[in-house]
Amino acid sequence: MNTLAFSATIAAASFCAGFLGSLTGLGGGFIVTPVLTLVFGADIRYAIGASLISIIATSSGAAAAYVKEGFTNLRVGMLLEIATVLGALVGASLVTVFPTRALFVVFGLVLLGSAYLTSRPRAEHLTADSPPNRLATRLRLDSDYPTPGGRVRYRVRHLPGGFALMWVAGVLSGLLGIGSGAVKVLAMDQVMYLPFKVSTATSNFMIGVTAAASAGIYLRHGYVDPGLAMPVMLGVLAGSVVGARLLFGARTERLRQLFAVALLAVAAEMIYKGVAGGG
């Protein structure tokens, strides 16, 4: 396959990855890297380099829409970015010394966990009546968000726990070239009691900054190949834009669960490849 055909194929596959990633909320990075490594046989370091770049594009695009609609909690995002950036610096430095087979295994395990997290049913917290949290009040983290019935207030709690989990999300992002959206949402939605939509919006807001922290390290170590990153970035970006358009009014609950099952197979294959070796 020559470069022209190769680029077109990668762009088409990346389009599908971006499309499914935005429709299911899991993000394109989790699909791009397995496709590049398992289907196209690319070295996993090239794959995570291209993936990391592409998630900056998709998350910034999604973040722009969310932030304009007023879902994003800027203060929570900025504060937790300290944790994710510190984590990403550790994770991206680890890639350079990690055996590639171990990367496959860790990738598979994190994919399993994330697929499980995104497939769970979602319930919104109603926290406006709960007592104010001193730290959250002092840092002006409590806010409100738009719902069909007008803006609804919410209170934030457990900042230290959320901060710690965000550091882990940052490490995984830097190590695997993913957005770690599922772990970020877990930290805000489950630990800090932010509404689910606010958690998703704020997670997207943070993903670009987290990935930018790793990008410098990836670039310096030669993980970002222009020939591979170009079709991946453009394909994933176009796919996620189309996916986001369709998302309005679509019933995605079933699709997400179906997708989670499909990802189990991908995760198993990644882990198998890491354990068995061979390429």
């Binding site: 396959m1 020559n2 470069t3 022209l4 190769f6 680029s7 590049l36 196209f40 370091r45 090239y46 770049i53 900056i56 594009a57 910034s60 973040a63 722009a64 829409a65 932030v67 304009k68 007023g70 994003t72 800027l74 203060r75 900025m78 504060l79 970015e81 300290i82 950036v85 510190l86 610096l89 991206a92 002006r140 409590d142 806010s143 409100d144 007008g150 803006r151 207030r153 670009g208 900054v209 990935a211 930018a212 922290a213 790793s214 410098g216 390290i217 670039l219 310096r220 030669g222 993980y223 970002v224 190949d225 222009p226 020939g227 990153a229 170009m230 079709p231 970035m233 453009l234 970006l237």
Partner: protein
């Protein structure tokens, strides 16, 4: 609709941040697309191999080399330049929020934003 918890200035910041992110991504995608066209025009017939990791040549790993390659008409350099623009987008967003929080006289978050910015710049500069 305004509620006591909501600050009008916060809403302004949200619109500006949203625009900044959109413009950054669109600009980066356009540059990557242009670089990709040059790259495919020149090297479209070659056979790529990503099976073995060699790492990028030194010229495509840093800003100076990337600019040099772009100026000499290299598609790969131009793609990397677009990718750098993309990476710069969230960094610019952090810098912008630092300024926005300063205008709101929110000292704590100016410090938070500056800390994040310093960490990002340190990582990018190496």
């Amino acid at each position: 609709m305004r509620t006591p918890w909501r600050d009008v200035k916060d809403a302004d910041v949200q619109q500006a941040v949203g625009n900044l992110l959109r413009i950054g991504v669109a600009l980066a995608a356009a540059v990557v697309l242009a670089g990709g066209a040059i790259y495919l025009w020149r090297h479209g017939g070659a056979v790529p191999d990503y099976r073995v990791f060699r790492g990028e040549p030194p010229d495509l790993r840093g800003l100076a080399g990337i600019v040099r390659d772009t100026l000499s008409g290299g598609g790969r350099g131009l793609i990397q330049l677009g990718l750098l623009l993309l990476v710069a987008t969230p960094v610019a967003r952090v810098a912008f929020t630092a300024v926005a929080f300063a205008l709101e006289r929110d000292r704590t978050y100016v410090l938070v934003a500056l800390l994040v910015l310093a960490l990002l710049l340190k990582s990018l500069a190496g």
